[in-house]
């Protein structure tokens, strides 16, 4: 059984259907990558998982169907979603942002987790009292990642983390993500336009085209497949 399974998931916004039957799986401990052009339905796929839109079809997490649950319920089941735009609580402090990540945890280890993440991302630690909105895009993306991790999720959904970031910052972000996956066994579903970076840390990859999965393969193989690269990924 996969950690997350989507089975012929269709849906969209009001009258506009964006997804036309998506079949997708994320294995425990793997990084799954969803690639595709603008408007292919990448963001909508993540929104479907988080219960932010109405869908037909089935979505199972740990074998349990999560279709029809509210975003807050899905989050409480152990799925952390970093949306496009990073979801920063801009006028709250960095520290408050981090604590919001852990808001539903009942264990007594929130403080020690905070310390761990501030160690891992010293820039956040230095700015913990600062207004989160005043940080740079890269810092806010690091904050989004750390904040999501504060929930101790089983699955992390990342929506175009590279958007608006300098290439160097993007590279660091993906390096961190790869580390989290290898060292902590974090399962990730990442949606990206920056194909080569995402594929470099991915296990399995999907290419989305107008709401359907056009191609899927092991990430390494997809990266080497010249025909797919030319047709869909543009590099």
């Amino acid at each position: 059984m996969s950690l997350l399974e989507m089975e012929s998931v269709a849906g969209g916004y009001g009258q506009v259907q964006v997804l036309h039957g998506i079949d997708l799986a994320v294995e425990q401990g793997h990084v799954a990558v969803v690639l595709g052009a603008n408007g292919a339905g990448k963001t909508t796929t993540l929104r479907a998982i988080s219960g932010m839109i109405h869908v037909q079809g089935d979505i199972r997490f740990n074998g349990t169907s999560i279709v029809g649950r509210s975003p807050e319920a899905v989050s409480r089941m152990g799925i952390a979603h970093v949306p496009q735009g990073r979801g920063t609580f801009t006028d709250l402090s960095v520290d408050d942002n981090m604590r919001i990540g852990a808001i539903n945890r009942k264990d007594g280890e929130v403080e020690s987790d905070l310390a761990t993440w501030y160690d891992l991302f010293p820039r956040l630690g230095d700015r913990r009292r600062q207004q989160a909105g005043s940080m740079s895009g890269g810092e806010q993306q690091m904050l989004a990642l750390a904040r999501a991790m504060m929930a101790r999720p089983q699955l992390l959904l990342l929506d175009e983390p590279s958007l608006g970031l300098a290439p160097l910052v993007t590279r660091e972000l993906f390096a961190r993500l790869g580390e989290l996956n290898r060292e902590q066994g974090l399962s990730v579903l990442v949606v990206e336009q920056n194909a080569s970076l995402a594929l470099s840390i991915g296990h399995w990859a999907y290419v989305l085209e107008t709401g359907r999965i056009a191609v899927q393969n092991e990430a390494v193989k997809l990266q080497d497949d010249e025909a797919v690269r030319k047709a869909y990924l543009g590099f």
């Binding site: 979801g87 609580f89 709250l92 919001i100 909105g133 005043s134």
Partner: protein, 300 residues
Amino acid sequence: MQLFVEQVINGIANGAIYGALALALVLIFRSTGVLNFAQGEMAMFSTFITWKLTTGGLPVWGAILISMGIAFIAGAAIERTLIRPFEGSNRSPLNVVIVSLGMFLAINSLAQLVFGTDPQRLPSPVPNRRLTILESSNGGINITYPTLMLIAVLIVECIALWWLLQRTKLGLKLRAVAADADSARLHGIKAGSMLMFGWALSAAIGALAGAMVASSRVGFDASLMQTIIVYAFAAAALGGFDSLWGAVLCGIFVGVANSLTVQYVNALDGIELVMPLALILIVLVVMPNGLFGKRTVERV
């Protein structure tokens, strides 16, 4: 000089009420982005409930607490039944403004229907004595107990709210929803419950403010809050609408400014309401963020 100081103290006491009501306005504005025009009328209705409880023999402090509890529940119910169906990211925020204007009229009429149109008297929670400080040959400065009470209540209210918002998990959830409701939901926070709680809290604060005004007057009727809400709006605008502490401080500023204009500017005799209206206009033109509003720095 003595008159001046007394007027300033009176102004602070009135300002404490404007500040308390502005606090309630800002609390709802921050969590829903909506100005609740019915805030004053909700407070007035609660005041009638407080009064009704005292006529049943309850001590006035007890009546105020019970009425705050009732207002808390009613505020939550109003959010659930009258506000939520009309709001949402795909709807215009004007919808809720119209609903709140409708509530303004409806609650006012309902109060007159249920409690009558005769002025009623709410007993003061503290003895109506006066304290003389800085006594000197020409009399010293007089402060009445009710004046002190108004100021003390505001201080306690501020500390309690600060503690709730900055020191508790519930407060963090409230602030998260106020800052970004969608993102808060993705963190497992029930945004709907928080909005309901915001309305409930505001209604309870309003109930307290209403009782404070009514008890410092000889009598009150359904028009109790109608001028006061204008001062509260002025205070909230001056404070920048998103700052709780700004609302309180500016409430006091408006109160003092008002009591000094009434005392010293004869030209405004009888039309004192010009002062808060002018303040609102000046703030909106000169500094739309208010004195304490965050100039949100946002980098993308």
